[in-house]
């Protein structure tokens, strides 16, 4: 930022972030501290007898030892879904931002509006579409892409598909927002320099839209890795993710220390990935950690 700094300027950023940060600290940070404490409770406690805070760090290795396959699956499925979403979302965001002309807003809403139709309804609609008796499975069986007794539902495929579907708008929106402000002259320069559309996209468009891409990847991957409803509705027990385990720990098994420990393990893993990702993209105006402040 140009210019010198009388006092007002130095407090301005703090004034700007204050309400949001206060909100987060109050309604997210505080409960989180509580949760952190819960993850260190003596695991032998129960609802009726109460829990004793015991620095029980053992909860973490215990949870990890039992549920690492679920964690791995979470990241595996979310990662696969992310790849799929990138393959689908990039052309979509690109087309909306740069090719749609006056249809842009309409298409944008087409991307988001499905979310107005409840999550559950959409997922159930997918069940209809992927049904063993449905036309899609029938077609796939006819062309021998699927064994005669093969199915789509209750398979990893359905889970990844569901994850991709449900979180795709989260990837597309920020990507779109950053593609939309791209300087077209630069894209023209690339085509002029022998880059076909694909190369232009990969070598110029995408790097320039990196802040949006990074944001989209974060918005997609983070919730996707914590999701459990797709696994529950579209998968089978063999597809359950760590979200399902946390759900069951908190609601069914009432093992709160374990639930809390698993939550933190998930968060730590996600944040680890996120920070690595941001580290990689830093210096090129990565939006999330470093901002664009030059």
């Amino acid at each position: 930022m140009p210019g010198g700094g009388p006092g007002r300027r130095r407090v301005l950023p703090y004034l700007l972030v204050l309400p949001g940060v206060a909100w987060l600290v109050l309604f997210f940070g505080l409960p989180l501290v509580q949760l952190a404490a819960a993850s260190l409770y003596d695991p032998t406690g129960s609802l009726s007898t109460g829990y004793v805070f015991a620095w029980a760090f053992g909860n973490y290795p215990d949870a990890l030892a039992t549920y690492w396959p679920h964690l791995a699956r979470s990241f595996g499925y979310a990662g696969l879904a992310l790849l799929l979403a990138l393959a689908l979302g990039c052309p979509l965001a690109y087309a909306i931002a740069l090719r749609a002309g006056r249809w842009r807003n309409l298409l944008l809403v087409c991307v988001v509006a499905p979310m107005f139709t409840s999550f559950l309804v959409r997922t159930l609609a997918w069940k209809t579409i992927l049904s063993d008796q449905g036309w899609l499975v029938g077609l796939l069986r006819d062309v021998h892409l699927l064994a005669p007794d093969g199915r789509l539902l209750a398979t990893p495929f359905a889970v990844v598909l569901g994850l991709t579907y449900n979180f795709l708008p989260l990837l597309v929106l920020p990507l779109y927002a950053s593609l939309e402000r791209l300087d077209r002259r630069v894209l023209e320069a690339a085509t002029d320099l022998y880059a076909d559309p694909l190369r232009t996209f990969l070598t110029v468009t995408l790097p320039l839209a990196k802040p949006g891409l990074v944001a989209g990847v974060l918005l997609f991957f983070i919730p996707a890795s914590g999701d459990y409803i797709n696994a529950e509705l579209l998968g089978s027990p063999n597809e359950y993710m760590v979200g399902n385990v946390i759900d069951s720990a908190f609601l069914v098994r009432l093992d709160h220390p374990q639930g809390a420990a698993l939550s933190f393990l998930l968060m730590a893993a996600v944040l680890g990935l996120v920070v690595t990702l941001l580290r990689h993209t830093r210096g090129e105006g990565s939006p999330a950690l470093d901002g664009g402040a030059r």
């Binding site: 023209e188 320069a189 690339a190 002029d192 320099l193 022998y194 232009t200 110029v204 790097p207 320039l208």
Partner: protein, 382 residues
Amino acid sequence: MPDDDPPGGDLHLVDLSKRFGRVTAVDSVSLTVPQGSYFALLGASGCGKTTTLRMVAGLERPTGGRVLLGDRDLTGLRPYRRPVNTVFQSYALFPHLDVFDNVAFGLRRRGVREVPEQVRRMLALVQLDGYERRRPGQLSGGQQQRVALARALVNRPRVLLLDEPLAALDLTLRRQMQGELKRLQTDLGTTFVHVTHDQEEAMTLADTVAVLHAGRVEQLGAPADLYDHPASAFVATFLGQCNLLAAEAAGTAGDEVAVTAYGLRLAVPADRARADRGAVHLGVRPEKLRLAGTADEVPAGHQQIPAVVTDVTYLGSGTRYLLRTGWGGELSAYTVNDGTGARLPVGAAVLAHWVPRHAFLLPRDPVERAAAPAGEPVGAPG
């Protein structure tokens, strides 16, 4: 990819037009750029130069007409399929790439070998060695433009389009780059189409100059022809400064055309008249106008107009005088500061005189449509 193309050929624009909504930016332009020539598109701001160039590059789809390279119709071709490169008016550098990678971009897309050598050579040429690792945002305007130039030139295209490539450079560097451009063009035999609003640049570099006006080609020819024998008032004033006197021509008599302007009877050689009857412009360039203190000093056979000096501008290598004529018109005269002759003071009464061969006649619309009103000096000596 350009390397697989059949060899170039002349570049033909056939009836090329471009409309943006109700604005007609380019209005059925037809011209031929001979292969290997240095061609300049000269015109005022907003006359459609950039748009024409963009259509050649394939970045703008023509509303009508065609672009041909030799026998090949480029009109529908995508930009990256055309053996054509552009130096953009706004640079359009890749902000996420450093200088080196910007210049290497085209080479890499074509899978060329020896990228580093070629890039280094090119950067040296535009005097940017040592700047390889800077991002465009860390360069000055002129430095950016040089990167843009290097980025296009390094590809050695069949046709290089340059959109005011030197506008942001200082004169020293511009001279030097002009020299380099000309040399490169001659060495490579590439066709250069150079858009500029600097007529000196156009005249220095180009084999052929096309003057564009309001989306149409106003005149096309060798620089000297355009300067010495312009086809219209617009060209006359756009290519250097010109004094235009509104006059009436009375037809050819012998090898001269007699004209009357503001009560003065003057004559112009017939071969320098583009009109010999009715409303005409009599044009004399400022540097052809000489100033005498008394009638004795005016050589025989010269035409003359009495006037008063109203302004003197020192321009380093020369001096520009503004003169007011008896009828209130303004004339501009330019003398070179070669050390002879004292400077005239403001208010001095002088006789502006010229050799008849140095004047020319142009048709004049009864309603003026030239860029500047007649009788006023426009433009400057090259």
